[in-house]
Amino acid sequence: MRRIGDAPAVKRLLIGAALVLSALFLLLPLVAIFAQAFSQGMAVFWSNVSNYFTLHAIGLTLGVALLTIPICLVFGVALAWLVTRFSFPGRRILQTLIDIPFAVSPVVAGLIYLLLYGRNGWIGSWLDGHDIQLMFAWPGILMVTVFVTCPFVARELIPLMQAQGSREEEAAATLGAKGWITFWRVTLPNIRWALLYGIILTNARAVGEFGAVSVVSGAIRGQTNTLPLHLEQLYQDYNAVGAFACAALLALIALLTLAAKASLEWRASRREALL
């Protein structure tokens, strides 16, 4: 039986349009990043990547991402467990609240942290009196990064855990398994791929966050400059090749993220086919 849009001409036209537009709109920018980064040869690329300020920015960026992931992981798992395993008043409100970081502009996210924890804020002024500086230092970068990335793990887990239901865990619990044992032996094996994908997304966003971080970082070279901020400085200094060298590193992380997603989805579809 024929389905809508199955006529060969229509099909060819639509596939062609989708491919051409995607190539121009999505693939071309990706190619351009690497073309620009290597436009003056491997040696220049390498010297751009291996200079002190770039290495420091890479280190800071990875360090912040490494600290962000466990924080978001604990929150994401706790929230997903809470809203999918129990029903209580306010459940829907909690689920709406975790979408706030998706809707709030990154610049506004940075600003609200700056206002609260900066020297003039009510917490910031108290901390300042105790010689603790969070803003324009790495803790501030970590705080806003956690803000913008915290929904990812929860968002991946909630639909899956809702679909799976709590029957297996309830069986374990009624058989006398303790809470943590149930979680490790029953829940975790069921959600590990979604959990992994949540972590990968968290990492991708943490590494690349720009707007929020640029408000609270101060962007001091060799101190509070993350890789995206460093890239911006190089670009504004008319060192486009240097900027694109940093961009290529970040694009590589993005490509790894896409590859990981594709392979996780392939694994999931293969498991579905086996069942």
Partner: protein
């Protein structure tokens, strides 16, 4: 308590309610809600007249127009382009399909600043695209068209990834019935497919629009940032901050925050309604 009673679900069989509730509420309060109080603290230093004067200043109002206009254009482009991509990815088999599917997530995975400098370089007069377009009279970089382009780039996955699952779940009988009754492709698509798709399409386009309103990193490089012409509202907040005008930055931020939270709520309510409708009264 008997086993049967415990399994009816009235009692909480599973452990961890207190712990997960504690972590979730503490985290949401500290990370998401507490910082917003800082914004209101700053705003309380302003009189209503001062607040009004800041948010209605000419240059700021011009930035609202640019931001909303470009975001609307980007959302409309994405509604069409996203629908096309979702359709092609679900309905057809062709070489490179898996690659195209993976490519759809690129704008989410790619850091916004990377997208920003790349689009600016591509569409500048000397760039690959700029060299083709400028002789034809299309200037993209440093105009609002460039802003709309950057917004469309960062938000396209919202439409594709919202429409795709709905289209996948649509049973083949739906369009087979329409086709066997002799409808043409166009009529069948409009009358039979679209009624199923448009709630998801509106949700995805709405999310893309909200994302575009707040986008910063991808836009500022290609925008040119000319006062009254190509300045977006997020940039105005940033400029006020660099001038240490915290009150001004907060006032503008409160407008952006209010609009984006109101839109988020509207999308959630809308989505909740149509999900309930699909699942027969239980959301």
């Amino acid at each position: 308590m008997s086993l049967a009673l415990r399994l009816t679900g009235n009692t909480r069989v599973l452990p961890g309610f207190g712990l997960s509730m504690g972590i979730s509420v503490l985290f949401i309060s500290l990370v998401l809600l507490l910082p917003i109080t800082g914004l209101f603290g700053q705003l309380s230093n302003l009189s209503l007249a001062q607040y009004w004067a800041i948010i209605t200043e000419g240059r700021i109002v011009a930035s609202y127009t640019v931001t909303i206009g470009a975001a609307a254009v980007a959302a409309l482009i994405n509604a069409v382009f996203g629908l096309l991509l979702a359709w092609v990815l679900v309905r057809y088999e062709f070489p490179g399909k898996r690659l195209l599917d993976a490519l759809m997530d690129l704008p989410f995975a790619l850091p916004t600043a990377v997208a920003g400098i790349t689009l600016a370089t591509l569409y500048a007069g000397s760039g690959w695209m700029g060299r083709l377009l400028e002789p034809l009279g299309f200037q993209v970089a440093y105009t609002w068209v460039g802003i709309a382009l950057a917004m469309a780039f960062t938000s396209i996955p919202f439409v594709v990834r919202t429409v795709q699952p709905v289209l996948e779940d649509l049973p083949a009988e739906v369009d087979e019935a329409a086709m066997s009754l002799g409808a043409t492709d166009g009529v069948a698509f409009r009358r039979v497919i679209m009624p199923h798709l448009w709630p998801a399409l509106v949700t995805g386009t709405g999310l893309a629009f909200v994302r575009s309103l707040g986008e910063f990193g991808a836009i500022i490089f290609i925008a040119g940032n000319m006062p009254y012409e190509t300045e977006i509202t997020a940039l105005m907040i940033f400029v006020k901050l660099q001038e240490y005008d915290y009150a001004g930055a907060s006032a503008i931020a409160s407008v952006v925050l209010f609009v984006s939270l109101a839109l988020l709520l509207a999308i959630n309510v809308w989505q909740g309604r149509f999900v309930r409708r699909l699942h027969g009264g239980k959301g």
